[in-house]
Symmetry: D2
Subunit: 347 residues, 4 copies
């Protein structure tokens, strides 16, 4: 071990075969304070990373191993990028004393009942759930700093909560219901082969999915309630877009743009990754692609008493792997931007 490596936090990833795992590898590989020691990918154990992700060939990452082959000695931080249900099964097997950042949905819901209702299966790690911290970075920064298990926010939820939570917390909007219109890129559906995400099904078209049924509704209801102290009825309309990355959320509000805009500007003035655009400017997913930034725009409606708030982020970064690393930075008391300041890739 070199001198400089001695000061680095030793990190492992569990779940390296998916897009989120790949983004974690990419981001950690250049992180100034983290050292990637091992990557678990049961299905691909024994393979080289570049056999699965040729774009990471130059990084000389360690080969994939099984969970059983993991060595926990000296590991201080584990990112878990597994599907929900599998995630909790693995996390309960991890020895005490390591910080865990889970990117799945398994620990996002404070209510076990709600989890079991929305995800249709038993939760097997109640005590872990009790100590889990919801990982929406800019909102729960203080809790995250002290947390040992962070449940990262879903990508769609993050794009929705960033513009809305401050408005609810500050009492600027008083809605009983909110219409959340959402568009999401295909990478959010993962890398496993499914007919509905093959190119010929998705390209050159847009299709709604899980309208009124999307599981992120549970997270949104939970967080809206915590911020406003009341139940807010959510109409959630997600669309699958013909693009790889990006989430966009457009929400109509019964309040003027200036009020909404001012509130968001103040709320996020110290948040380096949440950028409130000048009033009346609209964001676009291609302008945050490949970055940890979330752009939020506020636009007046035709009726000036109303407005529309629009937010965009890269689902794999600010909506997932980047969010996870930002949380890790906070947990280890590094600058929250460490390793995350890459500019978006446009065009």
């Amino acid at each position: 071990m070199t001198d400089s490596a001695k000061n680095l936090v030793s990190v492992s990833i569990i779940g390296g075969s998916g897009y989120t795992g790949a983004e974690l590898m990419r981001l950690i590989a250049k992180h100034p304070h983290f050292r990637l020691v091992q990557v678990v990918a049961n299905r691909n154990a024994g393979k080289k990373v570049e056999d699965i992700f040729p774009h990471l060939r130059h990084l000389n990452l360690p080969d994939f191993i099984t969970f059983e082959e993991m060595n926990f000695d000296g590991i201080e931080l584990i990112f878990c990028a597994l599907p929900h249900a599998t995630s909790q099964e693995i996390i309960i097997k991890i020895p005490d004393g390591m910080k865990i950042i889970d990117l799945s949905a398994d620990f996002r819901l404070e209510s076990i009942e709600e989890y079991e209702r929305w995800y249709g299966q038993k939760h097997i790690a109640h005590s872990l759930q009790e100590k889990a911290v919801y990982g929406l970075t800019e909102i729960y920064q203080k809790k995250i700093k002290k947390g040992s298990l962070i449940a990262c926010t879903g990508c769609n939820s993050a794009a929705t909560l960033y513009p809305i939570l401050p408005l609810l917390k500050e009492g600027v909007i008083t809605n009983d219901n909110l219409t959340i219109n959402l568009g999401a890129g295909v990478s959010g559906a993962g890398r496993d082969a499914k007919q509905n995400i093959i190119h010929a099904e998705v390209s050159e078209g847009v299709k709604p999915y899980n309208v009124g049924k999307h599981r992120h509704i549970a997270e949104l209801e939970q967080e809206f309630k915590k911020a406003s102290n009341k139940k807010i009825d959510i109409t959630f309309i997600p669309h699958l877009l013909p693009q790889n990355r990006g989430v966009i959320v457009s929400i109509p509000l019964s309040f003027p743009a200036s009020l909404v805009h001012k509130t968001l500007e103040i709320f996020y003035e110290d948040s380096p990754f949440i950028i409130i655009l000048p009033i009346e400017e609209v964001p676009a997913t291609q302008h945050v692609r490949g970055s940890n930034f979330c752009h939020i725009g506020v636009v007046s409606d035709h009726n000036k008493n109303r407005s529309v708030v629009i937010s965009v982020l890269d689902n794999l970064i600010k909506g997932s792997a980047g969010q996870a690393i930002q949380n890790a930075n906070i947990m280890f008391d590094f600058d929250e931007t460490s390793g995350l300041l890459e500019s978006p890739i446009f065009p």
Copy 2:
């Protein structure tokens, strides 16, 4: 002239350089009752159609001419596919006695004041406006049959009005305001080179445009008022999608899906091109691409007292050239489906 040609209606197109003009040529070329005699395209006059649209090479269409070169003898029907403002300047010069189908916005608004307010310029053809019929086929079929000047509905407006007008007319929804969330393919922005529609700006991203300001709001307000006898406040949120064709509209409603679905099914039971999907199924733009069909889905919200209605159509066909030809079929007493029954092209 052959015997069969004797019975065909002689048709001209004014405005053949754009995508809508191309679709008119394509559809009329195979229409059983129309004969395309001449195509005006001032900018491209003297050129062959295949020099501008290589995909129409096999049709052996007449070369483009200027408006001045037009010969009105024997012409019974004119399709006008010009930009707004230019359209009225040309149409006032057309001799009496011909049926005109205008695809621009120039004659859509019954109120001259509203036109001048939304389009920022004088209307110079008031008397033509007075006799114009709004061309939303399935709704205004009887007026269209007797009309001499049809103002075809905008593509975004058509996708919005099809699901909503029956609900207002039947009193099934009683909203004072409606949120219309819309996604539109790039071809709706025309074929003229503009930086905001070049591939590198649009591909792999989604960007809202004209939020709260889109000119189709004027049409929507007009038609909503006619259907409901009251002013309905519209929050209109259009997004530019990374695809060439297709409009999708998603509208949340405070009424149960079953009621909405039943009403639409009954309303459109004799409309061959408006297809109400089985309840809880969602439509997709790729499933109407290249066709004159409009698919409408009605889905229950999480809160079963609420629902979402979603409609899709191909902006260049049912939203424009196909709609125009369907109107022409009605005006000349042909079967309204003549020349329009091509299935969508998927994938």
Copy 3:
């Protein structure tokens, strides 16, 4: 049965779950002389066509059945759109007396040895192979007319053979080797979920595949040899393109453009679907999308003794389902263009 139906040829499709099956249904549904009686799709038997292909909902097609449920009474023509290997297993079970058009690779190779070498499995229908006719329509029209089993050409092969075979037959090119550079849309890889064709893998990128190993090399070698009486060494470089439909082939030639162009023009002057562009014009896949046309361009190289010939077609139509129907038209002595004259859909 109506009077008009009495004169229609009764047709069945075996293999209705894939894109080629869908295109056959779409095209046969509007064909003036064919009547689609039944569609076999073992995996989806019992389902409605619109459950699998929502874009065909308006056609009111018969529900999918199993092969065992097929009724051969009165059937005169069967299209078989199954994967290779499966195709021959099914076709040997079809009673005598029906014309069969196979879209798979199973009967394309005259040499059983070559088939077994390239496809890595036994051929179990030697006697059928002996009577099979290679279905490259414009080249084998006379044999197809008399044939009972047609083996349709692969989409990549068709795009390659159309420009090259006439040059070999007429002795215009005398190459011993040919470089065939090819780009193919994703739909050519079928509708079964495979990781390498999901949107996020394909979109915004291009990747070669099966370079030097593509099975269509066997067809090409066979046909080149038949046309030139010698073995031509083929370097075949296929690329997977980020688009759904379309094949493009670009082939450098050591002969001047004028000679190549003139030869192709003469050869195809009576072929309605093979369009030789004016010399020095290049074709584009988007200009044949959704149609049965093949566009061929011939361009001079920098060195005027050399040239490049480029051909494009829609892999699902001229490269597959459209080609099959054109062959059927010929077999039943209908105009070869019956049901196939739709113009390309652009943009």
Copy 4:
């Protein structure tokens, strides 16, 4: 000026409105040794960078200025990202003593006659041409180190020269002619609005362009001759691909893959950005997107005496802005990878 800023090289960009200019800004903003002092963009002078490139909003870059407003005091390095012809007009006005890296074609051709023949206009800066160094980094590293004016290689040329020059230099291939089959993303055509690059023209299709006429032929002929001491006849077949970034070049060779592969591996063993894939593996543009890497694959042909070499790079980075910065690193004796080690963004 802070202490740390004192040690940074002061840099200006001329030509900040295009995609290449944007990439230069993005890359220089995070470069450890360069400080971006001013950006000239005549058309957009006075505007903020984020008004033109919203994805760079967080960088707080200096506003665009005119060339006349430039202050050369203390400037050590200028990147010039203007169109050809304009570039030389500006560069001759730059005071002596600054290092200049030109991304245009103006100084790439050693022969003024060739330049004037291919670009159809007078060259007005002969003496500058004489001292210009062709900027293909890995090949001309030593000359670049001592150079004062670097003429960066065109993106298509770079993708072609990387695999071929070593083979010519080492005498491994002895061809008199080479077929270069190329696919290029749309961003290579720049950001100015032109009809042929709007989304609806490009998306879902592929179209050859400038076949046998592309100006990069001149560069290729020059470099091939320098490497092999003979004239090599080039058949250059470029295709416009429906993707934003990426160049792919596929070249058939009459030599076995093992020989070609070994030669390239040895030649580039110390080049951090040129990655030779394991033999028989193919590269893909999506695996270098957003990075300075060039991936090269060598694959056996069906006939094992032949092979195909395939290279991919991101046209805006390794093909342009990244190449320019790599050259700058060398000129200022920094590690050549400084500021350029970002991994590709996939998916």
